[in-house]
Symmetry: C2
């Protein structure tokens, strides 16, 4: 079902979507958990692109879809139980095979909760190959580019995983699988944060979280999680499927106060 606004009528460059930290979804500190925020970032990206005529439902009719390639989230503080927040999202740039979309998560009083950066590729659903975006949308992305809006956090970088120890293996469960039959992008984040004992979150909070999505995984795959400590409060995690291909890598940085 497309919303009536899934048409190419001219819209503001920046989309703004209101959400609330739902009572039964906050963590034991009473704060919005990172995976729930991640899901709302993806919702905001989806609503913004749908309203401007290049959303997933439109693309699917043309046998194409958006694929999330990178995500970096930097958190100042998380909304508390019942607290409202707005996810602002806009397109920063367009390149041959990917586009960068940024986010600002703010409160009704203008307080900044978090910033995020994401990188998306468009693929052909038959060949699974990346599509050149410039001929499709033009270098100005139909006038929706908004590089002037600041997003004062570092871009997602290369995540190297060398001397990591295996800390978990699992097979995708029903709740892990998304509508495309792949492991859900957000569920990877949930599993990675669950590698740390719950008590860790009493004394520290996630300051920055970064994901690099590299390959798809499916029901039946065996996923192995390997983790290494790379700094006082920083960890890199690599997830490989079936003892071979890396499906994603991520980096978690904690802040030593809750």
């Amino acid at each position: 079902m497309d919303s009536p606004s899934d048409a190419n009528e001219k819209k503001e460059k920046i989309g703004r979507y209101p959400f609330m930290a739902e009572p039964f979804q906050v963590d034991f500190c009473g704060r919005l958990p990172v995976p729930i925020l991640g899901n709302q970032l993806l919702n905001a990206a989806d609503f913004h692109s749908k309203e401007r005529g290049f959303g997933i439902p439109t693309l699917q009719r043309e046998n194409r879809t958006w694929v999330l390639s990178r995500l970096a989230v930097e958190i100042r503080e998380m909304p508390r139980q019942y607290e409202s927040y707005t996810v602002e999202t806009w397109i920063e740039g367009i390149f041959r095979s990917f586009t960068s979309r940024n986010f600002c998560v703010c409160g009704s009083d203008g307080r900044i909760f978090a910033y995020a950066r994401s990188v998306w590729a468009m693929i052909d659903l038959a060949s699974r190959k990346a599509i050149d975006l410039v001929p499709l949308y033009g270098a100005d992305f139909s006038g929706y580019l908004c590089p002037e809006k600041p997003c004062p956090i570092g871009k997602p970088g290369r995540i190297a995983v060398k001397d990591a120890a295996e800390v978990l293996t699992l097979r995708p469960a029903y709740s892990d699988i998304d509508i495309n039959g792949h492991f859900n992008s957000i569920k990877y984040i949930e599993h990675v944060l669950d590698l740390f004992p719950p008590d860790r979150y009493r004394t520290s909070r996630v300051r920055r979280f970064e994901m690099a999505y590299m390959a798809e995984s499916y029901p039946g795959d065996e996923l192995a999680f390997r983790m290494e400590k790379t700094g006082e409060e920083a960890y890199n995690v690599e997830i490989r499927k079936n003892s071979s291909e890396a499906v994603c890598r991520c980096r978690v940085e904690f802040d030593g106060k809750a």
Copy 2:
């Protein structure tokens, strides 16, 4: 943070709350999963009681809270990706130590997606003992009782688990724990449905789901899941902590068509 409407101004007996099957939360059949619907039922219950002056934030100031004791959901069909649905909720009855709250999940065209029944106790946060509701709210629950609204599904019944085999053990992870420091009611449902291989959901769907919450579990507990087949398409599951106390029991009935 309480909403401005967390006051005892007179409201309709039936609360109606709109939701949407979010794009990245639907399952690989493109349908709303049972745990996500379960979370929205709890949200609706929370909003309804808050707006009428007996919500959890109000109770917490009086050192009390609501505790979910039973939940039964019967599903005709689940909303599809992007589909809007409304959760209607109302109080059916009030008894000495519990109250029953029902739900109807319907589409904008009046189509019924699901009905649900729930049973809640109110406990004193210090003694953890149930509080007698009748002196507190009167036998008519301040005029909010609505037994005349139909909820044409069976009440949650007794769930017996006899010759069950252990199918999973786990320790609560960060994402399993709610704001009270207990295992999240909805996360139990997710773990139980994940006991079945993903392929099961290609050929069948959950027709009825029932939970009996009996005790609380915490980080550090070891939870053992035991399951038995009780009919052609029916399964009972019991979750015990630390090889002793049962924390919850549930019953899943599938329908042999997706």
